[in-house]
């Protein structure tokens, strides 16, 4: 049994953290809310770093890495609330499998994409082409994105109307590929949630160590300490699910549906609790505009609805579990 990251993945995480902590910060989300500043690191820098297209094969200019590699990077992206989401790149890499030209365009940044599920579309802002499922075909189309007032601007949500006159079939009869891409997307989304939740926990712990009330640090009070511990326990549990789900995406496709749904659901629940706790631990400063707490909270309030909401994901876990014993 070796259910742990290897040294290469730890190095990858460290390199991703180096890059991402310089290229983005939670405060960028506030600037985007204030005056429409661009989301950071943004598409160009993300693609140029090579981290976004880790799962694109090397001969197409990508990193030739695994979903687990990408999940390790996505955790780091989540810590700084980076945008656009690595989910978009992960799904596109699956949907373009075997299509060297489009993979190359994804990897060199000439193709700016969003993947459309119906409803609010992740990274619709700034996308020039849209991947969607029509019937059983995966298509790449032009379209128009209507970006509306954002709760979390880093997610670039918008409603997308496809231009059916400008549409190419990427893969015919490819519903199962679409589902696989969606599940890989859920894994990466959960990994971003893991990063955001664990960073929110760290900020909360730091504050609880130094803020004094009634002559002692508030982190010494059980009411504060225990709520942070509950977040810690959940974060570590989420980490286990994210690793399992990423491993399943790479090595055990039979386990992926359950693992991806479990990771997605746990990520939604964990990030919400981490962000709510972050606000509460800070007291008055915690619900000001100038503090970063609400930026994590905004991420939580939006992410829970992406790639199916948490209620759907829990339901799917239950249905899969019941189907397993009935089979």
């Amino acid at each position: 049994m070796n259910f742990d990251l290897d040294d290469e993945q730890r190095d990858l995480a460290a390199a991703a953290r180096d890059f991402l902590s310089g290229a983005a910060a939670p405060g960028d989300a506030r600037a985007a809310l204030d005056d429409g500043a661009p989301v950071r690191p943004g598409r160009a820098a993300l693609v140029e770093s090579g981290f976004a297209t880790i799962t694109v094969p090397e001969d197409a200019g990508g990193g030739g890495g695994s979903v687990l590699d990408l999940a390790v990077v996505a955790e780091q992206a989540g810590r700084v609330l980076a945008g656009p989401s690595l989910v978009t790149y992960a799904r596109a890499a699956v949907l373009f499998a075997g299509d060297g030209d489009r993979l190359a365009a994804l990897a060199d940044g000439s193709l700016s994409l969003a993947v459309v599920d119906g409803g609010p579309t992740l990274d619709a802002a700034g996308a020039e082409r849209f991947l969607a499922l029509r019937g059983d075909d995966v298509v790449l189309a032009a379209g128009r994105a209507t970006v509306r007032d954002a709760i979390d601007p880093t997610r670039g949500l918008g409603n997308v109307e496809l231009d059916t006159n400008d549409l190419q079939v990427v893969a015919a009869d490819a519903r199962s590929r679409w589902q696989h891409a969606e599940r890989v997307g859920r894994v990466v989304l959960a990994a971003e949630g893991l990063g955001a939740a664990s960073r929110a926990l760290e900020i909360g712990v730091e504050y609880a160590q130094q803020r004094l009330a009634f002559g002692r640090a508030i982190g010494s009070y059980q009411a504060v300490k225990h709520s942070l511990v509950d977040v810690y326990v959940q974060v570590e549990q989420l980490r286990s699910l994210v690793w399992w789900a990423a491993w399943a995406a790479d090595q055990a496709p039979d386990e992926l549906p359950l693992a991806a749904a479990a990771a997605k659901a746990a990520s939604a629940t964990t990030l919400e609790q981490a962000a709510e706790t972050l606000v509460q631990v800070h007291g008055g400063i915690g619900f000001t505009w100038e503090h970063d707490a609400h930026l994590f909270w905004r991420r939580a309030k939006v992410d829970r609805f992406l790639l199916g909401d948490d209620v759907d994901a829990y339901d799917e876990v239950a249905r899969l579990a019941v189907a397993q014993v009935s089979a």
Binding site: D230, D315, V322
Partner: protein
């Protein structure tokens, strides 16, 4: 990353599995029966010991195999898989024995350890008292040295699992009330059949009686039964408690009913529920099963650490916290889907397993470290949050009572 055994682990697993298969019928079944037949349980443990499956990590000179924690984890997994009941001397093996190994005399080690592993003697741990549970160091049971060098012990212990069948116990006492509470403690091995020891079973909310209160009235204990130095009992007790942490709630083993058995049970009842209730039951199942999966894979991370020869730190306490919560959520759902029968102690056809389980589980969040104590441990030693102030700091035990 992989979930496979190393070649050595695989060889050990097949050896364990073969032994369990060969002796399957002798080893008995896990049943919901309330009363413990300790003679049967002792014979089972002796059989397993003779097969090399007990005391895997204990040193060979203590009667163990000198094996690795990973080998022990494999035994635990295979015993659970085969449905073999747990060992009667689990507390002895996990806590009392390691304390004797670390702090006992050569003579004590020779007399006690192998008999403990074969369950020729059953052991209990005499720590908690009516006035000191989580605050263990506030205990009052008094040991006074007599002129011939032996000790006279008076006081009361409580929540003592297996005391009613135990042959020996490790007993933490106060030998000096005039120093700070952690400093005046001394540990002994006590003969549970000695004159002056009275054991009274305590009935739990589930109706069963697995634990006891134990009274000591001028019980004489020879000085040769002391574990560690006089006044060093707290350090000795920490050995016990550290060993306890490693034996509880780690490695991905499940607390309460297995998630698989709950899913099977829920699946059998789901269709009979009204549609709206089906959706709610699936939400509850989904949430608790995600928790069970998260515990399982977090346990695998712990096992991976152990497999590499690293010892888990205080973060391992998280497994008991989340494990007991998931067990309670699963049991709650299992009872709910019984419909009208859920309000009765047993179903119409007489099965009471789920109702009994829901009455057992609240105690699991208290025994072996309460949720609150575990959260303090994680908060202070993992997250680095400051400790709680202590009102009895800097005073002697006697002053703290005033």
């Amino acid at each position: 990353m992989d979930f496979d055994d190393t070649p050595d682990e695989a060889a050990w697993r097949s050896q364990v599995r073969a032994f369990l298969q060969e002796h399957r019928s002798e080893l008995g079944e896990r049943t919901g029966r309330r009363e413990l037949d300790d003679q049967v349980a002792r014979r089972r443990q002796a059989l397993l010991y003779d097969g090399g499956l007990v005391g895997v990590t204990w040193p060979t000179e203590a009667g163990g195999r000198g094996g690795t924690p990973m080998q022990q984890a494999i035994v635990d997994q295979e015993m659970a898989r085969a449905g073999v009941p747990g060992l009667i001397n689990l507390i002895g093996i996990g806590m009392c024995g390691p304390t004797v190994i670390h702090h006992g005399s050569e003579d004590q080690r020779a007399r006690y350890l192998q008999r403990l592993l074969r369950a020729e003697d059953v052991w209990c741990q005499l720590f908690s008292e009516p006035a000191s549970g989580s605050d263990l160091a506030a205990l009052r049971t008094k040991a006074v040295r007599t002129e011939d060098g032996s000790w006279r012990i008076s006081g009361q212990k409580v929540w003592t699992t297996l005391a009613h069948v135990a042959d020996y116990g490790i007993l933490l006492t106060r030998t000096d009330p005039d120093v700070a509470k952690h400093r005046g403690l001394t540990m002994f091995v006590v003969d549970m059949k000695a004159p002056g020891v009275t054991v009274r079973p305590l009935r739990q909310m589930s109706g069963s009686a697995d634990f006891n209160e134990v009274f000591f009235d001028d019980v004489v204990v020879p000085d040769s039964e002391r574990l560690g130095d006089v006044g060093d009992g707290w350090r000795v007790a920490l050995t016990t408690l550290m060993s306890e942490r490693l034996s509880l709630g780690g490695g991905g083993t499940e607390i309460g009913a297995s998630a698989a058995s709950v899913i099977e049970h829920v699946a059998a009842h789901l269709d009979a529920l009204p549609e709206g209730r089906q959706a709610l039951a699936r939400q509850q199942l989904g949430r608790s099963y995600v928790g069970a999966l998260a515990n399982r894979y977090t346990g695998y991370r712990l096992l991976s650490q152990i497999s590499k020869g690293e010892m888990p730190g205080p973060e391992a306490s998280a497994g008991k916290l989340s494990g007991t919560q998931v067990a309670r959520d699963l049991a709650d759902l299992a009872v709910r889907v019984l419909g009208d029968d859920a309000a009765y102690a047993a179903t119409a056809d007489g099965s009471s397993g789920w109702q009994e389980l829901q009455a057992v589980l609240p105690g699991m969040a208290i025994a072996g470290g309460t949720n609150e104590v575990l959260r303090n441990i994680i908060g202070e030693r993992v997250l680095g949050l400051p400790a709680e102030p202590r009102a009895d700091k800097g005073v002697t035990f006697k002053e703290s009572l005033a």
